[in-house]
Amino acid sequence: MWQATFTKLGQTLLVLLLVSVASFSFLKLAPGDPVTIMLGSDYSKASYDQLTQELGLDQPVIVQYGHWLANFVRGDWGTSYITNQNIFELAVFQALPVTLTLAAFSLLIALVIGIPTGVMAALYRNSWVDVLATTLAIGGNAFPSFYLGIILIWVFGVGLGWFPTLGFVAPWDDFWQGMWHLALPAITLGAWYVGLIARITRSSLLEVMGQPYILAAKARGEPGWRVVWVHGMRNVLMPLITVIGLQLGGMLRGAVMTEVVFSLPGLGMMITSAVLNREYIVIQAGIMLTGVLFVVLNLMVDQTYQFLDPRLRRRK
């Protein structure tokens, strides 16, 4: 178990290193000179050289990379030229919590709707319930989330006025205000996940319900709901977690769209405005942070998987 964990950690570090090389070289290859951007259109040769030196851009690329990586690990991510904000603080303390809150809330909504839908579809296979659930699931998956977001804003925000159309209130500051502001974005992002979760739940449960241990549970006199929700769903959890883990990338991608549509100050919003302003070091920070987030979440999913499936645990 420990050896497996260490191997996993080693792999994770390797992946992060590759992400850092990619994001560093991506910016080296990007058009535009950061020095000219920082200096504006009017500058002298001396000030240009001075800033180049200050930024370390006159040194070999590998050294620049080393400096950059060391600074990144230390949490020294530089300062935004536009807002003059500390980027580490901006990304980790302001943007990241917003994105995580949005993602967690969306996932919660998706699970609460998707699992029962999938279970119903499996139990009443080929009935109208199944058709409806499958249609909704595929619809949710196929519908572009930015478009759904705009429709939700239009209907529930502008038309009915039930929900705010933009902005973020931290739920840990004001829970109900936070939920109220998060409702539409979370539904927008969660809708895509609902379909996925419902479909996986349906197909996995159908497979599990055909297993002899389900028949055995019934033969012990277990009532139907317990056979499905305890004996069946306990075994559905593993494939479900795997798929949720595999689709975390999609979740983060969706979060970018959703944040832009609803003007939530999350990582997606941060990266988008950095791209528009050509603030390379903010983009770099955003890419790195997203990479770390993705890798850490995957690692967590892997650990959960081991925890959920007794067969993966080592024998005592």
Binding site: Y213, A219, R220, G221, K316
Partner: protein, 330 residues
């Protein structure tokens, strides 16, 4: 005299219902128009063991599933009667039937590896019927589970209580399965090929264990087996099934030593015995359910078949202390 026989025919006689634990009468089961079980009639007294013998596809397991109520209307079409302790099982509400399952009727599956839930410890799975049917507390469940594990010969049961099924050998898993089936001291134990999935060396042990426990609890048992000789050895009575019908039923010794039905005779000549020159296999196979012959279902494979066998179903008759369904009993 005449009056009595009329009474006996039309009214379920209470004393008779009490005398036998299980009464199966003209029980038929149809699935998508195919008759899987055809007018099965059987009875089982308390403490008696019965072997259901036949090839795969004969309907033995289906009958066991129907007896424990895991195959019921409306999923399948059912006719006839199943009486257990005088209660008509076919008319029982699902919630009431559930109270019998794992409680008064236990079931041992063929493949314990597949029949134990991989995500729950064996202790939890043994405790389930104890909690549900006997209402024992969590700690009482654990204590009783340890006792049960001990009774089925599991060494160091206290340590194994929190083991997951995959941590135990196949033989141990089957012992756990037996402990679960016997947890609430059932009056009827159904064992569906309980040793087929096990190593030969363990088969005899497990069979001996089941018989031993059944005797200790004074339960009745129905063994689903494909081996006639094994069936005759472990059961008081034997019912030979073919294509959803019982073709011969009677005391084990007589059925094994002097089989009357051609199919039983064929099964017997398939049994390997020392010093026997050759095996005589039964030619052909069980016809598919949607293409059953109108008359005797065994007729197409029967060496003694005549014209009538293909046309009319033979009535079950009593001969030499057993029930046989054949037109040409020697």
């Amino acid at each position: 005299m005449n009056q009595v026989s009329v009474l006996a025919q039309n009214i379920p006689v209470e004393s008779h219902a009490e005398a036998s634990l299980l009464e199966v009468r003209d029980f038929s089961l149809r699935r998508k128009k195919a008759t899987v079980l055809d007018r099965i009639t059987l009875s089982l007294s308390p403490g008696e063991t019965l072997g259901l013998i036949g090839e795969s596809g004969a309907g033995k397991s289906t009958l066991a599933m129907a007896l424990i109520g895991l195959l019921r209307a409306p999923e399948v079409e059912i006719e006839g009667s199943l009486r257990f302790r005088g209660t008509e099982l076919t008319a029982l509400k699902e919630a009431d039937f559930r109270r019998l399952r794992g409680n008064k009727i236990g079931l041992i599956f063929q493949d314990a590896t597949a029949a134990l839930n991989p995500c729950f410890t064996v202790g939890k799975q043994i405790a389930e019927p104890l909690r549900r049917h006997l209402g024992l507390s969590a700690s009482a469940c654990r204590a009783r589970a340890v006792e049960l594990m001990q009774s089925v010969g599991i060494p160091e049961p206290r340590l194994r209580l929190d083991a997951y099924p995959h941590e135990l050998s196949g033989g141990m898993q089957q012992r756990i399965m037996i402990a679960i089936a016997l947890a609430c001291n059932p009056e009827l134990l159904l064992a569906d090929e309980p040793t087929s999935a096990l190593d030969v060396t363990i088969q005899a042990q497990i069979m001996e264990l089941i018989l031993d426990r059944v005797r200790a609890l004074n339960s009745s048992a129905i063994f689903v087996l494909h081996d006639l000789a094994l069936g005759a050895q472990v059961c008081d009575r034997i019912a030979v099934m073919y294509a959803g019908q019982i073709v011969e039923e009677g005391p084990s010794e007589r059925v094994l030593n002097a089989p009357l039905h051609p199919y039983t005779q064929g099964l017997k000549s398939c049994v390997v015995e020392l010093g026997m020159p050759t095996l005589t296999p039964i030619p052909g196979q069980i016809p598919p359910l949607d293409a059953m012959p109108n008359g005797c279902r065994f007729a197409p494979r029967c060496p003694k078949a005549q014209a009538i066998c293909g046309e009319q179903r033979p009535e079950t008759q009593t001969r030499d202390g057993r029930q046989v369904a054949c037109w040409f009993i020697d």
